[in-house]
Amino acid sequence: MHVYLPIAEISISVEVILCLGLCVGFLSGFFGVGGGFLTTPFLMFMGVPPAIAVGTQTSQLVASSVTGVLGHWKNKNVDIKIAAVMLAGGLVGSVVGVFIFKILQALGQIDVAIRILYVVLLGSIGSLMLFETSMSLWGRKGGAGDASKTDKVSRVEKMRAHIRNWPYKIRFPESKLYISAFVPIGIGFIGGVLASILGIGGGFLLVPAMIYFMGMPATLVAGTCLFQIIFTTGFASIMHAVTNQTVDVVLASLLILGGVVGAQIGVRASRNVSGVWARIILAAIILLVSIVLAVQLLMPPKELFSVEVR
């Protein structure tokens, strides 16, 4: 069955989009990630223009983040003050991101830029995750860390302490932190830029950053990050709708619908798999997507020409 997308002005297969939503929902339920990094490349592959893929995806992320955050909210695992400070950076980042998006679009390089950013981001995060999780698998079997390792740790610790002591320090009682406001603002800013340009929540980048740079308690990180993502992606969505008219509500509903069902299946499936293995599988999927995109960038394309109606 095909449905006509009123904003994209193309006709698209309902089954395929529902399937995509299902897969992405499964990932979000299984691993606790947004899965936006899969949706945008896949929609582009389906022939949806990059601008519409990104713009629409931001509104789908609002729905999946709301679903995700409610559980954390009930368990009081959301630090609203940190989220609010991050959001200040996130909103500015969204505006900057939409602006960069428009420039790249005018230059005719938006699809190339999106691909390169994905390859760099997913490639580095995927390899790091794979490295870290496989180390922890081996680490469990091995003994205590040697001298050089502890030395390295202390140096990283010093660097973090230095960053946190930047000016404009704010107290965050919920997380028991007293750190410079620039740290959450900076992390939020990067999240906002990514949401606008790539149509992703950026949780896979923000969560580690919040742990390493801010030193947030692990229990509060996921909920706080998701809570903040709702507003950043919501804002990015409105920005895309206003500046580019690229948010297709019909496409978004289909993605959300598939995502809702997929998330249920994902949550159930995750109960049967241990955390470490889940992380290794996720790292493998992220790496696979980045490799596919890298190949597309490096291989000579079948068709050298592309047509764009202004």
Partner: protein
């Protein structure tokens, strides 16, 4: 069923026109002497479940000449980009802009294309894909813009927005003709021109035009116009909808 009866009425009407010469004198313009053209529908409405449609063109040709019927979509400024390697990555390297490129083009003939006249004649009248001569925006030698021009046509053909070959004009009886244009699901919206031309030798002896509106309708059209005219409220609406969907999903999840 409704469409079928409309066709029948048109056929009857056109036979009447063909039969009575008095009526003909009133209906045809000086330029369209002996040639009449009618569309089964003046509008094609694109709904949410739109998956392509047929546009049926009827006409009466009393000139005795060969017939050409073209369907041309709205024109737009179109960019053609060529990829090139930069640091090993394939990026968009070169771009040419073409003015007034029809978004859609299809045509039908009742004779062989070569019988209709010289190639230049057909070009001047915009018949056939080869007739499409777009002006490149920047002043560049034709040799440079030519590959871009060819790529543009090739891609439009692959997207089924340009015809590869001419359709056949169906002749019903002696003078009545019919052409069936098949619009794909992603047909561009806008005002289309249907042109019927009669040729004798190398000379165009008659021409008639009709206009066809292809537009979004119903729910789809309302969404489109709202998204364009009230983009802020549209954006806010989509976000509120997304929040509601996310909340509803959680409620359903929590119950189980």
């Amino acid at each position: 069923m409704g469409q079928k009866s409309v066709y029948m009425m048109l056929v009857v009407l056109l036979f009447c026109i063909a039969a009575s010469s008095g009526a003909r004198a009133q209906l045809v313009s000086a330029q369209g002497e002996g040639l009449t053209l009618a569309l089964a529908d003046k509008y094609v409405d694109i709904n949410t479940n739109f998956s392509g449609r047929n546009v049926v063109v009827f006409g009466v040709n009393e000139t005795g000449g060969s017939l050409v019927v073209t369907l041309t979509g709205p024109a737009a400024y179109t960019l053609v980009r060529k990829k090139g390697q930069a640091l090993g990555i394939w990026v968009n390297a070169k771009t040419y802009g073409f003015k007034d490129v029809p978004l859609y083009y299809d045509y039908a003939l009742n004779g062989e294309e070569r019988d209709l006249g010289s190639v230049d004649m057909l070009r001047a009248d915009g018949v056939g894909v080869n007739a499409m001569q777009y002006a490149a925006r920047a002043r560049v030698p034709v040799a440079q813009s030519r590959p871009f021009h060819e790529a543009l046509i090739r891609q439009k053909q692959q997207a089924k927005h340009y015809a590869y070959d001419a359709k056949l004009v169906e002749l019903i009886g002696g003078k009545l003709f019919k052409v069936n244009f098949e619009l794909p699901a992603d047909v561009p919206t806008g005002e289309y021109v249907v042109k019927a031309m009669a040729y004798e030798g190398n000379v165009k002896i008659a021409e008639r035009r009709e206009y066809l509106q292809i537009r979004q309708a119903g729910f789809s059209a309302r969404l489109y116009s709202y998204a364009n005219n009230h983009s802020f409220f549209y954006g806010v609406g989509v976000v509120i909808f997304a929040v509601f969907m996310g909340y509803a999903a959680n409620v359903i999840l929590a119950r189980r």
